[in-house]
Symmetry: C2
Subunit: 225 residues, 2 copies
Amino acid sequence: MNKCEQCIVRQFSSLKALNKDELIRMAECKTSYTIKKGEPIFEEGEVTNGIYCIKDGVCKLSKLSDNGKDQIVKLVKPGELLGQRSMISDEPANLSAIALEDMEVCFIPRSEVMQFFNENNQFSMNVMKTICEDLKGADDHIVNMAQKTVRQRLVETLIYLEETFGKNEDGSLHIQLSREELAGMIGTATESCIRLLSELNKSNLIELNGKKIFITDKNKLKRFS
Amino acid sequence: MNKCEQCIVRQFSSLKALNKDELIRMAECKTSYTIKKGEPIFEEGEVTNGIYCIKDGVCKLSKLSDNGKDQIVKLVKPGELLGQRSMISDEPANLSAIALEDMEVCFIPRSEVMQFFNENNQFSMNVMKTICEDLKGADDHIVNMAQKTVRQRLVETLIYLEETFGKNEDGSLHIQLSREELAGMIGTATESCIRLLSELNKSNLIELNGKKIFITDKNKLKRFS
DNA sequence: AAATTTGTATGACAAATATCATATTTTGTT
DNA sequence: AACAAAATATGATATTTGTCATACAAATTT
């Protein structure tokens, strides 16, 4: 069993507030999982009964809409926690969490987290601030979805992907989404997404090579939207 | 100075967890305001330094988008608190709060609320659960904005308005929004909103009489979307 | 009461986006 | 390597939505 004390990603989450004793307790009750690309960590409506700490890999939080399409609400990266809202609301998950890459995650049971939550004020404050950030982000997201064109949303999403998840050595976006997933982030039809990518490609703002996307001219791209 | 103890709307908010002593302390430091229809309680970017308890009247939470249009993110009714997220994040307001009717609100300074927050566990838990509800609502809102048509959003908004804020004696929606505001809720151009309302009117699903909107056949309206 | 401003309504048109069809490419499987 | 399945790409077209112009109505001011 790995020690939570020595886990680097913990430092980036609310868990950084836990003391040595608490970390040892956590290490004893946690379960580590490996999740393959495409597999769910949990799904919409599922009772999670605990939180997940993302050690490695990125996942999407999405929700199935009435029209049968999956809308991606947020991407989550290593160091973040999943399931905090459900834990506090004591409700099933509102969103599905699906791995976009092979992942390593640790599950910490609700009972244990709630104990930290009640006895460690800094920890609960951290959790709360994270949820508040999420709420602010979601409100801004609503405004963008409601007021921006598909092209603007696509351009901004591409820039977000580069700035948040970085580039490979060859300069391509590190996070590889299928066209369908990218469409699911910006809230449009897959064909529209493909078409706009082609257009940006032809305008020499991005370059497409198979699944790889290169942002050729970020400044021009920003201005374009 | 009115006593918070005797205030009914307090019972509907997180403040219901406060004990008698705390309520007396709150009554001493609160400030009561009257806000006229159309006036702001606070605006985007403003440092609020406390929370507002809505005693009477409804307000909109909105954000100005880059395209110059105001997107309404949420409506807030009596019994709810405003500014909780800003208080916890210790950040300026992310949204503007503008009165849709004449309002009565009480302002409670940040210092006081944070004291309740730290010493009264039930209160802080209530605040957190409210923020979690808001986050869930916002996530769902994102999916609707991204995946539903303007017509669907309009229909669902009309039904939401009736079910949340009720009807007048004559059967019209109690909350009166201008066409521009309604367009700002569903995220569309004012003209498009007006046109779709006319269409619903011609299809005998709703009835328009000046600013008044009557939902004639709610079930058919639901199915229509 | 007349005049001005503001909000609502509608037509005409343009632009954006979705849908359906089909081709091409990539990926995975046998 | 050959095949099947899935993903990507593109054309044609329909539909939705936005924009601009203008008319009309209601509220407000003078």
